[in-house]
């Protein structure tokens, strides 16, 4: 068990990175505290797998240090780091039985046989693998194999952190849910740090206590699912999380508040400092927009009924604003106007939130 | 340990190159030098051996003969193997497994067993001493091989591709030529490579089925070496030249050669 710190870590796959584009990871400074369940969320190619491989020691970062409990382990090989990793595609040793698969990491470390037996049975019980313990691993289904991959991590008692690299990609949808709750349950049972990489926001938000959103080799925000939802620190986070994502409306700042075409909007904070920025936008989630008698005039483009609520796509000049309207609420047809909930109305300058 | 990993392939390639180097170096030596004194590289560099091959029709015709039957064989083998491999990869039909196995057993037939019957067969049908005789005879082992390789590649193409095309109104042959063949282009390349290879290197049947008009280069070589005594320089030059077509073909398929085998089915 350990606290994990990435100290000014940067990584590039190029030999001599000179261009900004050469960096797969641009300066990451994070600390994961012991026993947390974290998710690393971001689109494909944002550097999340790179980051994971740096923690597991499969990659050595070009710059910076990796610390486990303040001990510099940047140059320590993977097998000495006491970590476990579950990959996107299940890795099982085909020729071995399930038992031998689970025992493999222990036998490699010369653990006495009696201890191996006890430990394997304990883990197999946790993962509901007891019945197939003496079957060949190659005959299992994808989720069974993924459980073995996980089991090989859990079986070691000295594991600092278990990392998951999009582990549910090849699992059938109805089993995904089961396996995810199993993970959650295991986390509570054994309490080791878990880092879960995914591009699926539902997976990230349901699994993790804290989510780290990455984009383009940078960490955009670390926060609880609620924080990410209510107060995204960057327009990317606002857009990436939520369905549909956050609305962004170009605006100017007058008297400390944003305004659109002369319509004053009340934001969460009064903005004291007049900003010199190229792009100033209001960010507001569709959940926090409502039709009101007074407010910003819009025209309705289309209404999408998805059962419990409707997504109304409206337009003000050239800006599209999506609104979520609960079932049963009235959608005005003539001269609709909208207003924003001030508590969740944020202003972004060049993508970053103003406070 | 890790730093010396390149050593094994390097030594191995060195071992592979030594006899070839010796052959090439000898092809530039005069007969006197070869028999007279031992030298690691040609002391009296000469192109005479090559000049002789390129000016004497019995020599250069040998090349054309070889290439003719190899090309004919490759084309026949691959083009008949394509529909057959498709059938094996897509359909179940009466006796399919036995047929597939029977085809493969022909790959195990020793050429020596068939040399004499082939001679009689092709004499009887009047093809003896033509490139067609050799090309058809080589089909015996090349067709099974081509079917086997192509079947492996085709099984890797999802059946949905066929179904979509038929739903879109493609006729079978139009689908086969316009959509399916381009999809497995790599497999066709690999199959052609192996057909070329085994037809090019085989000599026993090629020699048995030809006498003068269609004599392959490799056979010309054997005769010269044995009858004209020690014309080793000439032999080496002819040998060197037979390596070139193979080298060119390998260069073209270098990216698919490993893949081709991996996809073949056992």
């Amino acid at each position: 068990m350990a606290k994990i710190t990435l100290d000014q870590v940067r990584h590039s796959y190029a030999q001599n990175p000179d261009d900004d584009l050469d960096w797969a990871l641009k300066e990451v400074d994070v600390t994961w505290s012991d026993g947390g369940a974290y998710a690393l969320l971001g689109p494909s190619g944002c550097g999340k797998t790179t980051l994971l491989n740096i923690i597991s020691g499969l990659l050595r970062p070009s710059r910076g240090r990796v610390l486990f409990d303040d001990r510099d382990i940047t140059d320590i090989p993977s097998d000495k780091r006491h970590i476990a990793q579950v990959f996107q595609f299940p890795v099982v040793y085909d020729t071995m039985t399930v038992f031998d698969n689970l025992a493999f990491p222990l036998r490699n470390r010369d653990v006495p046989q009696a201890q191996v037996d006890a430990r394997v049975h304990e883990i197999a019980k946790m993962l509901d693998l007891e019945e197939s313990l003496h079957n060949r691993a190659s005959h299992l289904t994808a989720d069974g194999k993924q459980k073995i991959s996980l089991g090989r991590g859990l079986v070691r008692s000295d594991v600092n952190v278990i990392m998951f690299d999009e582990p549910l990609t090849v699992i059938d949808p109805h089993l995904k849910w089961l396996l995810r709750s199993k993970l959650k349950e295991l986390h509570q049972q054994i309490g080791s740090t878990m880092i879960y990489v995914t591009h699926d926001q539902t997976e990230a938000l349901t699994f993790a206590d804290k989510v780290m959103v990455m984009h383009d080799g940078m960490v955009m925000q670390i926060g609880t699912p609620v924080e990410l939802f209510e107060k995204p620190k960057h327009t990317f986070v606002g857009h990436f999380i939520g369905s549909p994502g956050m609305n962004l409306l170009p605006c100017v700042i007058e008297n400390g508040y944003p305004s659109i075409d002369g319509h004053q909007i009340i934001s969460a904070q009064k903005l004291d400092i007049p900003e010199v920025a190229k792009r100033v936008e209001i960010g507001i989630r569709p959940e926090f927009v409502s039709f009101t008698p007074n407010g910003l005039p819009v025209e309705i483009v289309k209404i999408n009924d998805i059962g419990q609520y409707r997504i109304v796509e409206t337009r003000h000049k050239n800006t599209t604003i999506k609104i979520i309207v609960a079932e049963g609420l009235h959608i005005p047809t003539a001269d609709p106007k909208i207003s924003f909930d001030p508590a969740y109305t944020h202003v972004y300058a060049d993508g970053y939130i103003l406070t | 340990m890790k730093g010396f990993k390149w050593l094994t392939p390097t030594l191995y390639i060195l071992f592979l190159m030594l006899p070839i180097y010796w052959l090439i170096s000898m092809s530039f030596k005069t007969t006197n030098e070869i028999l007279g004194h031992f030298s690691l590289w040609p002391q009296e560099f000469t192109l005479d051996n090559y000049v002789k091959i390129f000016t004497d029709p019995t020599w250069y015709n040998g090349y054309f003969n070889s290439i003719t039957y190899v090309v004919i064989n490759t084309l026949i083998s691959v083009s008949v193997a394509l529909p057959a491999a498709y059938a094996f990869s897509r359909y179940r039909f009466l006796g399919d497994k036995h047929l597939f196995f029977w085809l493969l057993t022909n790959r195990m037939a020793p050429a020596a067993v068939f040399a004499l019957p082939f001679f009689q067969l092709y004499s009887a049908v009047g093809l003896f001493d033509t490139p067609w005789a050799v090309a058809l005879a080589h089909c015996l082992f090349n067709i099974p091989l081509a079917v086997w390789i192509l079947e492996g590649f085709m099984s890797g193409v999802p059946k949905e591709l066929d179904e979509t095309a038929f739903v879109d109104g493609y006729s079978f042959w139009r689908f086969f030529t316009k959509i399916f063949l381009p999809t497995i282009a790599a497999g066709i390349g690999v199959a052609m490579f192996f057909c070329f290879m085994f037809s090019w290197v085989e000599l026993l049947l090629a020699k048995t089925l030809t006498s003068v008009a269609a004599k392959p280069i490799a056979a010309t070589m054997t005769r010269t070496a044995s009858t004209a005594g020690y014309e080793l320089g000439l032999l080496a030059a002819a040998g060197t030249l037979t390596i070139i077509p193979g080298a060119i073909v390998i260069w073209f398929v270098r990216n698919n050669i490993a893949k081709g085998f991996a996809l073949g089915r056992v």
């Binding site: 595609f89 | 392939p9 390639i13 990869s89 897509r90 022909n106 054997t222 991996a262």
Partner: protein, 288 residues
């Protein structure tokens, strides 16, 4: 695995193959069978002889010797080429410009006409003018493959290793390339030694291609004719007379068609039988 549909019309697609192969296989095979049960004194006059030739071949010491030589030769080259080919494949680079260079150079021997291989090794190994012959004699061994049976065997085996190990290498390499990186990464995290990685990851993943390699090498080495014939002519004495060489000697040299035909059939059956045994043994684990 593709779900196949039953369609008897597929026979039309395989018909050309069947016709061509049957023409090449069945007619000559029938000729062979025909000869194997008859005696001839020329002029196309044949007498029924039953299984006489088969009995003669099966009891002849000459056939036993050739078969024994053939079996030893095939076992030796399999024992050398398979481990060597795998070892080379394991140490080959996975990516980069050297991959193409390695593949092309290694495949080169496979595309040299078989008699050129024999001729090349002849002039390479001759004790007076060959580089290899000079080298071996230079380090103090008395080596002359045209005179000494041991030297002839050594040369023939070395030649076959030179000629065919690359086939094993290429196949093994193809198998290795199909292993996803995640396996190696997982093994590193699990603390596996290089031996464990080989034993539990690389070897199982190479199994299928190695089966093909062993089968091909077995069949081809069992049928070997041209290379040793050009190199040693089967000599000195009969020391490198393998089955095919012996067969051609009988059939074309002495024109003993009956015994030659009987021997052909026995020979072919042995290959089929051994291939089948190999295949079943290697595939047995898969079924479990």
């Amino acid at each position: 695995m593709i779900d196949k549909t039953t369609n008897q019309k597929a026979w039309f697609l395989v018909a050309p193959v069947v016709v061509l192969v049957a023409f090449n296989a069945l007619i000559p095979l029938m000729t062979v069978v025909n000869y194997s049960v008859q005696e001839t004194f020329g002029d196309n006059i044949f007498f029924w002889e039953g299984v006489k030739w088969f009995e003669q071949v099966l009891h002849s010491e000459r056939f036993h010797d050739s078969l024994l030589r053939q079996l030893s030769f095939t076992s030796i080259i399999l024992l050398i080429e398979v481990p060597l080919g795998v070892a080379v494949a394991l140490s080959m680079p996975k990516k980069g410009p050297w991959v193409s260079v390695c593949l092309v150079l290694m495949a080169l021997p496979l595309l040299i006409p078989w008699n050129v291989v024999g001729a090349m090794w002849n002039i390479f190994a001759l004790p007076d003018i060959g580089l290899l012959g000079r080298m071996i004699n230079g380090i103090g061994f008395d080596y002359n493959f045209t005179q000494q049976p041991t030297a002839a065997w050594f040369t023939v085996i070395l030649m076959d290793v030179w000629h065919w190990t690359s086939l094993v290498t290429l196949l093994a390499y193809a198998g290795l390339c199909s292993i996803p990186d995640a396996y190696y990464q997982a093994a590193r995290i699990d603390g596996a030694s290089s031996w464990s990685v080989f034993r539990y990851i690389q070897l199982p993943k190479m199994k299928r291609v190695l089966t093909i390699a062993i089968l091909l090498r077995f069949m081809d080495s069992f049928m070997i004719y041209t290379e040793p014939f050009v190199l040693t002519g089967g000599g000195p004495g009969n020391s490198t007379t393998f089955l095919s060489i012996d067969l051609v000697k009988i059939a074309l040299g002495q024109f003993d068609l009956g015994p030659a035909a009987a021997m052909s059939l026995i020979y072919f059956l042995i290959i089929l039988l051994l291939s089948w045994v190999f295949y079943t043994l290697m595939m047995r684990n898969e079924e479990q």
